[in-house]
């Protein structure tokens, strides 16, 4: 999906309960007043198909490039924003082809995923355990019931137990230190002060030569937990002056 016009920004969502909706109304729409914003459902998420494999960072970064190529943006540097797994994909893309990334925003990137992400995936060791987790955590947090909870259950059960996702995440190591230390792309690291991934943010801030770390007063799900603060950080770092939406008549 492409919104607006201007210098392009690509936004990637997180694993499992992420999709284009993560960024759509709260971030992509306001940014699209001045920028071309690209969103897509990553493989196995939202409206995208569920392939059996290819959840490793190389395959997912290939997907990212395919999206940019689709919009004719494969040959120029674009701003890339990612949350969680989407941030790892963004970082991997930047390390493979730094000249194609203008600026990088990593929101609570859980590097290495084998340490920060795998335990929660392995914790859902069977469809029954996953189902309980959806009832007790995911659905409760998002206020989901009925139809939506069932669809989430179906999607996650398929993603966790019918694809190579868990195996792929178990193999996701940290990016090589030397490569990180050589990455000159300006990078904003936004982490939740209460996120289990905050140590990864400090590590990346130490290694990346051109990075700034900002801690927000929230946990891992920053796009949902701290939307105003995250939007302010994005607009500051990407140099997008805040646009106040025209006031609409209140619904009667």
């Amino acid at each position: 999906m492409s919104l607006g016009q201007g210098a392009p920004v690509l936004m990637l969502h997180g694993l499992a309960n992420g999709n284009m909706a993560t960024w759509f109304s709260g971030y992509a729409s306001p940014l699209s007043a001045q920028r071309q914003v690209l969103l897509y459902d990553q493989r196995g998420h939202g409206g995208s198909t569920l392939p059996k494999r290819g959840f490793d960072l190389d395959s997912q970064a290939d997907d990212l490039v395919a999206v940019l190529d689709h919009y004719g943006l494969g040959q120029r540097p674009v701003d890339v924003v990612g949350h969680s797994m989407g941030a790892l994909v963004a970082l991997h893309h930047a390390l493979r082809t730094p000249s194609k990334v203008r600026r990088l925003v990593l929101v609570d990137a859980p590097m290495p995923a084998r340490e920060f992400v795998a335990p929660s995936l392995l914790g859902a060791g069977s469809p029954e355990v996953l189902s309980d987790y959806i009832d007790s955590h995911l659905a409760a947090v998002a206020g989901l019931g009925g139809r939506r909870k069932e669809r989430l259950r179906q999607r996650l059960t398929a993603l966790f137990f019918e694809t190579s996702l868990v195996q792929d995440v178990l193999r996701m190591d940290a990016e090589p230190e030397a490569a990180l230390q050589a990455l000159q792309v300006p990078t904003l690291l936004v982490y939740g002060r209460h996120s289990p991934c905050v140590a990864a943010g400090r590590q990346l801030a130490r290694l990346l030569p051109n990075a700034q770390l900002v801690l927000l007063d929230c946990g891992h799900y920053i796009p949902e937990e701290a939307p105003a603060a995250l939007r302010t950080q994005l607009e500051r770092f990407l140099e997008v002056p805040q646009v106040v939406a025209p006031q609409l008549a209140e619904a009667a």
Binding site: N19, S25, G26, S29
Partner: protein
């Protein structure tokens, strides 16, 4: 292109049915009072698809910034169909015939 509230409701109803694309929705009575959250139990990604389809339908006539910007997806899903019709109606810029 008609931009009356009735036409917007008809468009929205059609997009909801084609996006949800399950048997029950085809006969489900969708009106101004219908709520995306409580009545339709719409998924966030479905709402995005509907919004995108509406944007594509009206093109430049509809300032997407004006009707969606800054609202969380949860706020949007909390709306009724009638709320959304009003938002779209308010954001449609009248064009010379």
């Amino acid at each position: 292109m008609s931009t009356t509230p009735e036409a917007i409701l008809a468009l929205l109803t059609e997009r909801i049915r084609s996006t949800v694309n399950e048997d029950w929705i085809q006969d489900f009575e969708i009106g101004l009072e219908t709520r995306f959250n409580d009545d339709l139990e719409l998924e966030s990604i479905e709402f995005v698809k509907i919004a995108d389809a509406i944007q594509a339908h009206y093109g430049n006539q509809l300032g997407i910034i004006a009707w969606l910007s800054g609202k969380s997806i949860h706020e949007l899903i909390g709306l009724s169909v009638g709320d959304l019709v009003d938002y779209i109606h308010g954001a449609l810029q009248p064009q010379a015939a």
